[in-house]
């Protein structure tokens, strides 16, 4: 077995086989689940690194892996190029960090069901990873199914309103997946192929771009992924689902699901179809950009109105989706580069913020913003990492948030879409207000004391007060800091990453 050639499949197989190993181990001894999960995600991350290096070294920058050894249009293939190699690596790194982080939170929030939790955790990783690697439109749907089903279950395992908000998500998610499948079905009827590269070739050769069913198929796929990524006005399911989920779940789902859907949108727009078709006969592109502006505004201002940390972050996810969709629909190379870079940057930012929110909840037993008062004294490391992530979210150099926004804004100016530029700047300002509101409280105010136990109500704080520094455990801090430092590193080395991404963007062929 040539281990280097097999790296892409090993990347998927590690968490896939791991899921069943964990499931079986959970029947015998629940303590084994955590180390096994970390082990298998680490293996996957290692294989991911190998895959990325292979993509960098290959001439042309594309590696293809044939399942079952069959030629692509007949069998299924994994296709990794400059667009998805980095995204796939980001997915496994996020999964690894969350796996390390999950030790205490899973034990406390889903006690007795660790085996099932970690099984679903790994299968969600498989699903998201597969979406980002496959080169087959139907195979992508199967992965979409795995990731959605496991995320429904992981969200519904939360307490309180989790089950109900998850039900909303199930309905919306299923509608989204059906639209995607319908769209792929239309493309199959017209082209007879399911392989993305092959569909693109047939569309080109047979001149099918003017066909109504191809256009409507494209529209259905778009609507499907827009529902999946919670693009305004299809976003209502997201905030509650992410807020009431167990904190490990939201740490895993928030950075991955929406970002990967955006990847799918970009892949379909530019690899299956081409810019000429998308911006020529698709839905009016500036209309979509205006929707993206609305998404930024809705996300940012709703976030400003929330006093629950996690709810606030969930709305910010919606705003970020607006950035990326807008960037991709600006119809120029700079905007698309910004959007792709922002997928990576936003994955890490969202991860860091949700990890920090989970750590705060673990110690303070509340997501209320009041609970962050004076936290710099109590939890200096958590808050330090939170501050870095917040700065990146606002877009302050040298964090990567600055660079992706730079490209997005330049793209907006290039396209002459001033609404997008102003919207993005406004949204960044709102982010600044939002985060400095928290950081100020955490730095200047005195820590809140727990109210007497038993007191109920909105602002009840029922944590155990300890003297001095009261920091989250190391297994939570290490991934949090890794994510925050990753943000800075991604910012410092943004030139290298952008060079890599532009290999794909240049191959798209904008006029």
């Amino acid at each position: 077995m040539d281990i280097v050639q097999q790296a892409p499949i090993l990347m998927i197989l590690c968490p896939f086989l791991g899921a069943f190993a964990v499931s079986l181990a959970g029947l015998i001894q629940r303590r084994w689940c955590y180390p096994l999960t970390v082990l298998f995600t680490a293996g996957s991350a290692y294989a991911g690194l190998g895959t990325l290096i292979q993509v960098l070294r290959t001439e042309g920058g594309v590696i293809r892996y044939r399942m079952g050894g069959w030629e692509p249009p007949f069998g299924i293939e994994f296709r990794l190029d400059a667009l998805n190699a980095a995204i796939a690596l980001m997915v496994v790194v996020v999964a690894l960090l969350v796996a390390i982080y999950s030790r205490q939170t899973v034990a406390s929030e889903t006690a007795g069901k660790e085996g099932h939790f970690y099984t679903l955790f790994l299968l969600l990783t498989v699903g998201v990873l597969g979406i980002s690697m496959t080169g087959d439109a139907f195979n992508l749907y199967v992965f979409l199914e795995i990731s959605s089903l496991s995320s429904y279950a992981l969200i519904a395992m939360g307490r309180g309103r989790a089950a109900f908000s998850c039900f909303n998500y199930i309905i919306m998610g299923t509608i989204g997946a059906s639209f995607y499948l319908l769209g792929v079905g239309y493309l199959y009827i017209k082209t007879g192929s399911l392989n993305m590269t092959d569909i693109a070739r047939i569309l080109q050769e047979h001149g099918l771009y003017s066909s109504n069913s191809v256009r409507i198929g494209f529209l259905f796929i778009l609507i499907g992924v827009w529902i999946k990524m919670a693009f305004v006005p299809l976003h209502r399911w997201l905030p509650n689902a992410y807020t009431f989920a167990p904190s490990t779940t939201s740490c895993l789902v928030a950075p991955l699901m929406t970002k990967v859907s955006i990847y799918v949108m970009i892949r379909i727009m530019f690899s299956v179809f081409n810019p000429e078709f998308v911006f020529g006969v698709g839905p009016r592109s500036d209309l979509v950009v205006w929707l993206a502006v609305i998404a930024m505004m809705v996300g940012s201002f709703y976030a400003l109105a929330k006093n629950k940390l996690k709810m606030m972050l969930a709305y910010l996810v919606i705003a970020e989706v607006g950035y990326m969709v807008g960037g991709a629909w600006l119809a120029n190379a700079t905007g698309l580069t910004g959007a792709i870079f922002h997928i990576l940057a936003d994955g890490l930012m969202t991860l860091a913020l949700f990890l920090a929110a989970g750590a705060i909840y673990y110690k303070r037993k509340s997501y209320n913003i009041v609970a962050t008062k004076g936290l710099f004294g109590k939890m200096p490391f958590t808050m330090g990492a939170f501050a870095i992530a917040a700065l990146s979210m606002i877009g302050i150099p040298p964090t990567c948030g600055f660079f992706s926004k730079w490209y997005l804004i330049s793209g907006g100016i290039e396209a002459g879409h001033w609404g997008f530029v102003v919207g993005l700047l406004t949204s960044s300002m709102v982010n600044a207000v939002l985060f400095f509101r928290i950081l100020e409280r955490a730095y200047f105010e005195k820590p809140e004391l727990p109210y007497e136990p038993g007191r109920q109500g909105k602002n009840a704080l029922n944590f155990v007060e300890r003297k001095g520094v009261d920091e989250a455990p190391l297994t939570m801090l290490a991934p949090l800091w890794a994510a925050s430092l990753g943000l800075v590193l991604l910012g410092v080395y943004s030139g290298v990453v952008i060079d890599f991404i532009s290999r794909y963007v240049n191959s798209v062929g904008f006029q």
Binding site: G75, A156, A163, N212
Partner: protein
């Protein structure tokens, strides 16, 4: 809100109709779906895989990766139901179910025994009546069970030669188990086929499928590239190895589908406490 819903449904419906106009004719031999990939599958399937049932060949060989993942979708569905419904400490998360069991009375009323009316008593009596074992049903099930299981095994084993396969056979097996659970009571059935065993079988099924693929990897081919397995099967050439491997993976699919459907039934019918089923 209702108007918006109606409008979006109308809009989608109109789009669907516009798209249909553009479709190739029904059964048109020259349509892309019928003339591009299908031709290859139909003409070369026997030579390439030695399997006469081309549907199975596409499902379990050309697109085996999809099928492996679909099997794990069934597995995820089972685990998901399990993770949400199954009560570990006797308290079920499904609050609505419990409220239904209390017939809409609050906890306090239930404790005091208030709010109980004649309808409740009638329902309770009907439930007691329904819980009694029924001789005719049980005898019929006893007679049917071996036939059902034998047929299921045939469907699985013969899947690559005639219509059938792991999914279908697994569903028939699960239907047999559910039939037993409905006529003999869930607890009796769980004593025969315990929860833990079915979970293990569910895992085993996908592991058989994925394991076949990993074996191919270890023998130096790509994942799920069955032809190298000729080295393991006795007296087989590379083409027959594909046919045999399809049987192996179908058996895996059968295991997972059977045990997961059975578990889903057990959890759903007993509100997750696996005590009293339907």
């Amino acid at each position: 809100m209702k108007t918006i819903g109606l409008l979006s449904v109308l809009f989608t419906g109109i789009l669907l109709m516009i798209a249909v106009v553009d479709f190739p004719d029904w059964g048109d031999p020259h349509s892309p779906a019928n003339s591009y990939l299908s031709t290859h599958y139909i003409e070369d399937v026997e030579e390439e895989t030695a399997v006469p049932n081309m549907v199975t060949a596409v499902l379990a060989d050309y697109r085996a990766f999809d099928t492996m993942l679909e099997t794990s979708v069934v597995f995820v569905a089972g685990i998901a139901i399990f993770a949400i419904l199954r009560s570990i400490d006797g308290t079920s998360l499904a609050g609505t179910t419990r409220r239904l069991q209390r017939r809409g009375r609050s906890k306090k009323e239930k404790r005091k025994g208030q709010g109980r009316n004649r309808r409740d008593e009638m329902v309770a009596a009907a439930e007691r009546e329904a819980a009694k074992p029924d001789l005719i049903v049980q005898t019929t099930v006893r007679l049917l069970m071996p036939t059902i299981q034998l047929f299921a095994l045939y469907v699985i084993a013969h899947g690559h030669h005639s219509p059938g396969g792991g999914f279908q056979g697994g569903v028939i097996l699960a239907a047999g188990l559910i039939l037993v659970a409905m006529s003999f009571g869930l607890e009796n059935t769980l004593a025969q086929v315990p929860e833990k065993l079915s979970l293990q079988l569910g895992n085993l099924g996908v592991l058989i499928f994925a394991g076949t693929g990993v074996l191919c990897l270890l023998l130096g081919a790509n994942f799920l590239d069955y032809h190298v397995l000729a080295a393991i099967y006795p007296a087989t050439d590379e083409i027959m190895a594909r046919s045999h491997s399809m049987l192996v993976v179908e058996i895996g699919v059968g295991f997972t589908v059977m045990s997961m459907l059975y578990l889903i039934y057990a959890n759903l019918s007993s509100h997750g406490d696996l005590k009293k089923g339907l």
